[in-house]
């Protein structure tokens, strides 16, 4: 099981940022590596993709 080590709002390490993402923002940075993700927002959800850690979908969160 992978453990979140980065803020999904800014990509910084959780030791530097404890989570600045806002309630109505999709994750923008990978929680595992802090890399900026490509995020597709669709009417009923979102799909975020990290180059190294794959795809995360809103319905799986």
């Amino acid at each position: 099981m992978l453990v979140a080590t980065h803020c999904t709002g800014c990509g910084k390490s959780l030791s530097e940022c404890h989570g600045c993402g806002r309630e109505l923002d999709p994750p923008r940075f990978c929680s595992e590596c802090g890399r900026r993700m490509t995020v597709t927002v669709i009417p009923t959800g979102w799909v975020a993709k990290c180059r190294d850690h794959g795809e995360l979908r809103s319905d799986a969160v």
């Binding site: 999709p26 995020v39 927002v41």
Partner: protein, 370 residues
Amino acid sequence: MGAVTTTPVAFRSAASSHASAHELSDSPPPPPQAALSAADRALIAGAEKALLDERRVLGGHELTALAALPDGAVMNLAALAHQVRLAWCGPEVEVEGILSAKTGGCPEDCHFCSQSSRFDTPVKAIPFLDRDEVLAAARETATLGASEFCIVLAVRGPDERTLQRILELVPLVRDQTGLNVAVSAGILTEDQARRLAQGGVHRYNHNVETARSFFPSIVTTHTWDERADTCRLVKAHGMELCCGALLNMGETDAQRVELLTQLQELEPTEVPLNFLNPRPGTPLGDRTILGAWDAVRWIALFRLALPSVILRYAGGREVTLRDLQAIGMTAGINALIVGNYLTTLGRSADEDLQMLEDLRMPIGALSAAF
């Protein structure tokens, strides 16, 4: 940038002008309606007579006077705006879904936008989604009771390849979902407007966002007049014009009234009303959020200025109005974007549909033909 509105007309608390963008403004509730003077009541009665008895559109001077009414008049303005909406548009509410089909990487510098390539924002550019992704999003939108689906692209204007993709998608989405298809793809040439109209685009979105006099403070890579030219091309070629506004970018109340009179001249079918949701990394990223009652005031003023338009709740309403979203629906709004926005999330479609059910507002398709 960073100017704040200066006229003392609404619920602009001192707290909100000093709060960080992450804090919600803390506007007080409106005072009792009994606080209104005879002159204020007469002003509202005059607007009621013009809009409901004479069926006359208000002019700039009348709108300026209404905008300067004291805080205690907001619910009066909202009540009149609701009556006007029912009289001019009927009880139906139009529901629409939108999709950012091409995200980020935009060369323009709209200071509110996280999709501009000129600002360091968390939004990473994504090329045009493929056909199946767009169709899937449209099908989801149809299940939410929507009658309209807008395909949005972050571009200055469409190049030939992009235009071809749009022209391929529009009939596919319409035929496979039964939805009216709208498009938002920036500044158009006359030939592009003609081809989009012939290709079945029902409504074209091109927001002017703000007053002509304030626009250069927000966008420097193109002009307000270029946007207005595209709006006129849309109408000239037979598409319905969707031309919206974004409030709380630092414009004054006088500039909001200016915007209203400019929208009156452009004669859009639909006006999506956005409230600034400050985006990290943009020049407006540190602005505060508009007070909820201030938003209600301006929803009502938009309806009073534009009695026949489809006035749509759009981006920023969740963070601005919070629990007052239902009041906005009874202050002149008769359409909403359901589900998520382009790069941010909305509240759940179930919450919006429940709100409409509770308000006993029927969902229906609206058009320019009322």
